[in-house]
């Protein structure tokens, strides 16, 4: 089934224009940031750059540059995230050594851990030089912060102290202090950047005999222990007169083999020595499954080779970019830097559940990451049901929106286009009229997620509720459309009383005139065969207005708004006409007319479905009430993405970076 999906993708990929630009970085749930993979030293495009045991990672405050401690190249490397992840050497890289001075002439000896200071300068644990170095990025100079080059954990004035075998580094702004751990010596120490004095915070502590990974979260220091698998929050101890200020440890988690810790938004993360589950959310607790593009949890990474590093028990980096719920990971033995996003993918199997913001999707960050174009796909159960042989496939990665997202980003990477795309879905079952509820629900979603394009998907399904029904079931608003909320007392009124004005009255009168009103006084609505109603031109015209009016109102509402960047919010309709839904040859005509009547840009897949209906049969599962199967989602996601690019509904500047 999944293989077939890729066959579909391959067929469509043949239709893509020839690659016009350079290969760009992929934007997915798990991506290569830089590194060809073999050891060496080479600057250049991210996929050709060579590293040699890269360890430390630090992100500049603007999130545009990533710095790498490239241990065995004795260099500080830089990945320009704003320019296709182009890799360059910031300093060092001409053999091991120890030399302060300008970036071009400074030398390091196995620079490992990195930490970014709020002023944009970089601190480097220069391991085999036994020193903490400062890379002043504005002045373009390297200096020594602490360490005399000898082994040990002696405190004192910076230049007279010892700072080797450092595992973790973290900067605590409130104290203007740099914390560092030395598991070999059992010490957690800090360097006061104001006084330039180092001091020991904990040494040989019973709870924390071998301090390892460090991070700062919500103004507090977190530390893991290398030997007992515990993770603690470090809190100030109550001060006692005559006794130096101390700290106390509060247990956060245990049973972890944390190689690195990171704090992002409101959660503490750990990179662990478990190749099947290398990242865990410690607080609040939860797993961070690494999903494949078809939604399987990535297993056997030793075979896959993505996380063999974690078994070596060596430090690694886990650095968050909260703006996109992204994390960067160093892979010293793979010589690459990767990233992943935590969008709560453990919810992958709950395909019908809403996220915390009411979308039927993963937990995308509310703040749109820089350079990302967001599409909101609106539709009915065809968006989220995936049937295979009459059974649900509970796999969010395999439904239309995620297929679209993958296709848009893959094409952007292949074409060297600057686009990054997130495709989210907002859906409700067809018991809710699809032309109506978006008017009430879409604006809030657009506002929350700063959506750039709303794509209304409409099928020609005969299961769709009859267009006129809501105009009789619900009170009519001052805008002339049915209210969102049902009012039971309104329902209890005879239909004649519910059709005293507006489009409902027009419809009743037209049907009466044409003899299509069935006299059923009392509870039920007075209409007969919907198909007959549709085929009468006068009644059809009223029905089309009933269909389009809420959509036109939504168009006006969205038209008056702007994205946070000041851009227009696109709103278009995608008509997906499945041949099996046609009850008569006029159905397609009706649905086309309905979409045209909205005045919205129309992306009409009718012809495309006609061409592919035989070759790709079946796209849907009859036993699943004609909801799409894997292949259908794959095909439509790919096809819609391609059409959006072709029609320039999404920005796709090729080779322009």
């Amino acid at each position: 089934m999944r293989t077939m999906g890729w066959v579909v993708a391959s067929i469509l990929s043949l239709l893509l224009p020839a690659s016009a630009g350079a290969l760009g970085p992929m934007y997915s749930f798990r991506d290569l940031v830089a590194g060809e993979g073999t050891s060496g030293k080479k600057d250049g495009p991210f996929f050709r750059a060579l590293f040699h045991s890269p360890l430390g990672v630090a992100l500049d405050p603007g999130g545009r540059r990533l710095f790498i401690g490239d241990q065995d190249n004795h260099a500080i490397r830089m990945v320009d995230l704003a320019h296709d992840n182009f890799v360059s050497t910031l300093s060092g890289g001409k053999g091991k050594g120890f030399r302060d001075g300008p970036l071009a002439s400074a030398a390091f000896n196995r620079p490992g851990g990195l930490v970014m200071l709020p002023d944009g300068n970089l601190v480097v644990a220069d391991q085999d030089n036994g020193r903490l170095r400062l890379v002043d990025l504005r002045q373009g100079r390297v200096s020594t912060l602490a360490g005399d080059g000898t082994e040990g954990s002696k405190d004192g004035k910076a230049g007279n102290s010892q700072a080797d075998r450092i595992w973790g580094l973290a900067y605590l702004e409130q104290e203007k202090a740099l914390y560092f751990s030395q598991p070999t010596y059992g010490t957690l120490r800090k360097l006061d950047l104001a006084s330039m004095e180092t001091s020991t915070v904990l040494k040989g502590d019973v709870q924390l005999p071998r301090p390892g990974a460090l991070c700062i979260g919500a103004g507090q220091l977190y530390v893991s222990d290398r030997s007992n698998g515990k993770v603690f929050r470090v809190l100030p101890a109550p001060s006692q007169e005559g006794v130096a200020p101390s700290v106390r440890l509060e247990l956060v988690s245990e049973g972890r083999k944390a190689l690195a810790l990171a704090w992002s938004e409101d959660a503490l993360y750990s990179l662990e020595a478990d190749p099947n589950s290398p990242v865990a959310r410690l607080s609040p607790p939860g797993q961070v499954p690494f999903l494949t593009t078809v939604g399987d949890v990535l297993q056997e990474p030793t075979r896959m080779g993505l996380f063999q590093d974690v078994l070596k028990g060596q430090p690694m980096a886990l650095v968050p970019d909260p703006s996109s719920r992204k994390f960067f990971i160093s892979h010293p033995s793979l010589n690459i830097i990767t990233s992943f996003r935590d969008l709560r993918q453990e919810q992958n199997s709950k395909t019908h559940d809403l996220n915390s913001q009411g979308l039927m999707d993963f937990e995308y960050p509310l703040l749109k990451p820089p350079g990302v174009f967001r599409v909101l796909v609106v539709g009915d159960s065809h968006l989220y049901h995936n049937y295979h042989l009459d059974k649900f496939v509970d796999n969010r990665m395999s439904v239309l929106a995620k297929r679209m997202e993958l296709e848009l980003n893959m094409t952007a990477a292949l074409e060297g286009a600057s686009g990054r795309f997130e495709v989210m879905s907002l859906a409700a079952p067809s018991s809710e009229p699809l032309n109506l509820w978006p008017y009430y629900k879409v604006p809030a979603a657009v506002e929350k997620y700063d959506i750039d394009l709303v794509l209304h998907t409409q099928l020609n399904t005969n299961r769709h509720p009859r267009i006129y029904v809501p105009y009789f079931e619900r009170p009519i608003t001052s805008e002339g459309i049915p209210a969102y909320d049902m009012d039971p007392e309104h329902l209890l009124k005879p239909w004649e009383e519910r059709a005293k004005e507006g489009l409902a009255l027009e419809l009743v009168e037209a049907c009466r005139k044409k003899g299509l009103l069935e006299a059923r006084p009392g509870e039920a609505l007075p209409f007969g065969d919907f198909q007959k109603m549709v085929e009468d031109p006068d009644i059809r015209e009223i029905l089309l207005r009933m269909y389009s009016r809420p959509i036109q109102l939504l168009k006006a509402k969205l038209g008056s708004r702007r994205t946070k960047q000041g851009g227009r919010i696109g709103y278009g309709i995608c008509l997906i006409a499945l041949p099996q839904y046609d009850r008569s040859s006029r159905d397609r005509v009706f649905w086309r007319e309905a979409q045209k009547g909205t005045g919205l840009p129309l992306l009409d897949l009718t012809d495309l479905m006609t061409v592919f209906r035989v070759s790709l049969f079946p796209l849907s599962c009859m036993d699943g009430e004609d909801h799409f199967n894997d292949q259908g989602h794959q095909f439509l996601g790919t096809a819609i993405a391609r059409e959006l690019i072709k029609k320039q509904w999404v920005p796709f500047p090729v080779g322009g970076r």
Partner: protein, 163 residues
């Protein structure tokens, strides 16, 4: 109008998105006929779950019960009494916390059909009964919290049973 209280997954307002979005719900199972009718022994909470909508209106509180799943228990010789007792229990148990209105209006209907998502098809609605009463006139339940078995119909000041 303010939606006072939802019980279960009726296809109304936001509940449509939040409840029915979670996959097709199980088809509601009609309640079997009780062997004997005694108000204090009727499983009222189970009957009302998922079938009642309570709405605060200006000057009154409206109760709406889709009794389609309870039909076997209401379409009996003593239909009037059973409907009245059902309305009474609905008023007793489901009056919204914080509501102020004393006037209560209660409707019992049958919605004969549901769609594939279990949502009622409103155009198959059949009116069954309408009651009105002031809440202050409803007798309290007994010490054990059970409703007293009494002539409920007399408590209402307006009763309309549809044929």
């Amino acid at each position: 109008m303010r939606i006072g209280r939802f019980l279960g997954g009726w296809v109304l307002s936001l509940a449509v998105l939040s409840v029915h979005a979670a996959g097709p719900p199980p088809t509601p199972t009609p309640w079997p006929a009780l062997k004997s009718w005694k108000a204090s022994e009727v499983p009222w909470d189970g009957w009302f779950k998922g079938n009642v909508l309570v709405t605060e209106k200006k000057g009154y509180v409206h109760f709406f019960l889709n009794a389609q799943d309870l039909r076997k228990n209401l379409e009996t010789k003593d239909k009037r009494q059973r409907l009245a007792e059902t309305a009474l229990e609905m008023a007793r148990r489901l009056y919204p916390p914080g509501a102020k209105a004393d006037r209560l209006k209660l409707d019992i209907v049958y919605v004969l059909e549901r769609d594939e998502y279990g949502a009622p098809k409103w155009d198959s609605l059949k009116r069954v009964a309408h009651f009105e009463v002031d809440r202050s006139k409803i007798p309290a339940v007994d010490g054990a919290g059970k409703p007293a078995d009494l002539k409920a119909e007399g408590i209402f000041d307006k009763v309309l049973i549809h044929p």
